[in-house]
Amino acid sequence: MERSQPRRQVAAMKQSLFDQGLLDEQFIQLEELSDDANPNFVEEIVTLYYRDSSRLISSIEQALKERHPLDFNKLDTLMHQFKGSSSSIGAKKVKAECTLFREYCRTGNAEGCMKTFQQLKKEYASLRKKLEAYFQLARQTGPMETACRPK
């Protein structure tokens, strides 16, 4: 069936995201929440996430700019929030970067913080693109089976 093709594509795409370690189980949980009232619930959430977290990213960036010395406490607090957000949508890699960043904050490693943050931003942006593509395809495909767990 034609439909199955796009569906399989979507499924494959999703699977790939999981395989790459970009998403985790939480993403599945979100998908399971989709219902008639919110058929594109996951997309809505992800959109909300990117919108809200962007200001956190800016704050962190700003804080990192105010060096000499870096305010690790503040950075840690901001990152904690960001991590919470990211984990709630299942952004696995982003979350890992957050943890690493916080560790550097804990040890007062400014260099480590900066580097990690750069990496984090990359992952963050990359995930966004991939998810956008995913959602787009999903929408085209029509209502997908929900919560199709990746193998």
Binding site: L33, G84, S87
Partner: protein, 679 residues
């Protein structure tokens, strides 16, 4: 659908609060847990949305909130509007744990904390602050599916309304209701509604055996006083729910009810201890010197002074002295409490008792705990005495006050027993009679007040004596609005303006009604005291021998006891020679005495003691003396808890938790300024 869990929603009672959910009341059980009303608080919009969706998927009724303050106001407006709260730990406007505390005190709802932080110490914090669960983010829907268990658990353990207590509560409620009329504070309103709701709940509960809907146990002032008495008797450290239950001997009350109440009390004490420590220190000097209370000196002096003043009838004076001194000599009555802030509670009870016996009791070696808050003494009988004496007032007040110091709930109770306004007025006659000595002993108590403040809600104490004094008022300072009785003096404690002055604690008035969760209710007796002082000096002589705080309260109020629970009553009375006027004060003070004591503030023992005192012109010296001593405490305690303030209000406020508007005050016990509580 709203679980008609005992929120009284179904009740036809007009209670304003939470009536929105009024349903048939029983309907809920069928669909439970569906329809569970959840309030979720998180500053992260992503998480908030996800949680909302998940909770809806569980068929719960969800309300989401980005800010803790908004959540609190939602909860306050709608007392019975929610069954459970889920809150994030890290929030910009208020710490999640703080919110947790507030909710626990005011509304007594189960609260679940959540955070991306799974560090052990954070989770431990959740536990110590009373969270019923802790979820790690990202939260899974499975974790949310079972949160209803916390609601059921809470209902089962804490809310069951004992038959007896139900009836008692009802009685109290009614009384309160009438008192409420006096109070204009919103707290009253809360109380009233609460009461009504409780009443309904009681009725409902009896019929409905559903565990889900178990009506909450209403910890009325009386009940709380009994609780306090039991706790005091056992000693706060040894107070186990089972024994407390036995001592209380309230039919229908379960061990679980007591256990949860005890837990709250402990939290309350803990909070106070921070504050009271300060006072304790202060008190200690007072008290410590004499185990018996130092009061001997105080009491003795006061008494003597009083007697000299001629205000106190020799007899009463003797009594007071005996009581106080006996106690004081016995001292330990009070001193003890100081040491343990927590014990305050215990103190109060003893104190309360004192109040009753007014002097007589005092003699009983029960150290004038009134002030001291010597918890141990206040055995139930004392209370009984107190009650009786309360009539005679003067003494009672003192005692009560002392005991009152305990948590506001106690106060509330006290308030109950004492017709709030009575303090001065009613017993006025008594009060005057009450040997200032009563108050005096209370002085030592005062110290304990400080201690008591912590929680000495010796309910028992407070009321008995208070009866005269607007118990309700003094008790908790809360309802000082009631001013009930306090009016006598310049300090209309009851609604004592004095107390309001004191407002430092703010509690008193507000707290009281709100159920002073924390000591907050108690208006810093300090202020009151100060205020009273000037005037009191005159009155004091008589009255307060013990009540230093009286001064502040003088009018009835009880003592702004800072310690909310502290037997503000004590404060109120004793010193309040002015009490006569306030009549209430006395009683309240007695009861409040405890509170008063804790109030440390002005109560200066002299005041406290005087609570019951017969307005004798005890001369303020007494109180003055006390004051000086107390002052140190007072500062911390400033809550003189004008018992008179509608103790009931206070109590109810405290008990009611729900309505506790005190929120800020909650803990405003002595040390805690209500202001502290950022809400």
């Amino acid at each position: 659908m709203n679980l008609s869990h005992c929120k009284g929603s179904t009740m036809s009672t007009p209670s304003s609060s939470g009536s929105h959910l009024r349903s048939t009341g029983d309907a809920v059980s069928d669909q439970f847990p569906a329809g569970l009303r959840v309030l979720v608080v998180d500053d992260d919009p992503t998480c908030l949305m996800i949680l909302e969706k998940m909770l809806k998927a569980c068929l719960y009724e969800v309300t989401k909130c980005k800010r803790a303050e908004v959540a609190l106001s939602l909860l306050r407006e709608n007392k019975n509007g929610f069954d459970i709260v889920i809150s994030d730990v890290h929030m910009p406007d208020m710490d999640g744990f703080k919110l947790l505390e507030h909710i626990g005190l005011e509304m007594d709802l189960p609260v679940i904390m959540m955070s991306a932080d799974d560090g052990k110490h954070v989770v431990m914090k959740g536990v110590t602050h009373g969270a019923c669960d802790y979820l790690i983010k990202p939260v899974r829907i499975e974790a949310l599916k079972n949160i209803w268990q916390h609601v059921v658990r809470k209902r089962k353990t804490g809310w069951r309304d004992p038959e007896q207590s139900g009836s008692i509560d009802e009685g109290d409620r009614q009384q309160k209701a009438s008192d409420d009329a006096d109070y204009s504070s919103s707290a009253n309103e809360g109380k009233c509604s609460k009461k009504r709701r409780d009443e309904e709940e009681d009725a409902d509960e009896r019929d409905d055996s559903s565990t889900l809907k178990k009506p909450r146990v209403v910890w009325s002032v009386e009940l709380h006083q009994q609780f306090m008495a039991a706790v005091n008797q056992l000693g706060i450290d040894k107070a186990v729910p089972k024994k407390i239950l036995e001592l209380m001997n309230v039919p229908g009350l379960t061990r679980e009810n007591v256990a949860s109440h005890l837990q709250k009390y402990r939290l309350y004490l803990r909070r106070l201890s921070g504050v009271s420590q300060q006072q304790n220190n202060l008190n200690n000097p007072f008290m410590n010197p004499d185990p018996t209370f130092g009061s001997t000196s105080i009491n003795g002096i006061d008494l003597q002074a009083l007697s000299v003043a001629g205000q106190l009838p020799a007899q009463s004076l003797a009594k007071l002295q005996a009581a106080g001194l006996g106690r004081s000599t016995a001292k330990p009555v009070m001193s003890m409490p100081l040491v343990e802030q927590r014990n305050l509670f215990s103190f109060e009870s003893p104190r309360l008792r004192f109040g009753e016996g007014q002097m007589q009791h005092l003699n009983t070696n029960k150290p004038m705990n009134l002030l001291h808050g010597i918890p141990t003494n206040m055995e139930p009988k004392q209370l009984a005495n107190l009650h009786q004496s309360a009539q005679s007032l003067g003494n009672l007040n003192m005692r009560v006050n002392a005991s009152v110091a305990q948590r506001s709930p106690l106060l509330m109770q006290m308030g109950q027993s004492q017709p709030r306004g009575q303090i001065v007025g009613e017993n006025g006659s008594h009060v005057n009679q009450l040997p200032t000595s009563l108050l005096q002993p209370s002085v030592p108590n005062r110290i304990s007040n400080g201690v008591i403040r912590n929680g000495i809600a010796s309910t028992s104490n407070i009321n008995p004596a208070y009866n005269q004094v607007p118990q309700s008022s003094s008790f908790m300072n809360f309802p000082m609005n009631q001013t009930n009785e306090m009016s006598a003096r310049s300090f209309p404690l009851g609604s004592n303006p004095g107390i309001s002055n004191i407002t430092t604690k703010g509690m008193l008035q507000e707290e009281v009604t709100s159920g002073i969760k924390g000591s907050s209710g108690f208006v810093p007796s300090y202020d009151i005291f100060n205020e009273l002082q000037p005037q009191k000096s005159n009155d004091w002589d008589l009255r307060n021998a013990g009540l230093t705080y009286d001064a502040t309260q003088h009018s009835n109020h009880v003592q702004g006891n800072i310690d909310v629970s502290v037997s503000p009553s004590v404060l109120v009375h004793p010193g309040f020679s002015s009490m006569q006027q306030t009549g209430q004060n006395r009683d309240t003070t007695s009861s409040m005495g405890k509170a008063v004591f804790s109030m440390g503030e002005g109560m200066d023992q002299g005041n406290l003691q005087s609570i019951s005192q017969p307005q004798n012109p005890l001369h303020i010296d007494h109180s003055v003396r006390v004051k000086s001593e107390r002052v140190p405490d007072a500062s911390s305690q400033t809550n003189f808890f004008p018992e008179q303030y509608g103790q009931e209000d206070l109590m109810s406020a405290l008990l009611k938790q729900e309505g506790i508007g005190l929120a800020e005050n909650e803990f405003d016990f002595d040390g805690y300024s209500l202001d502290n509580i950022p809400v």
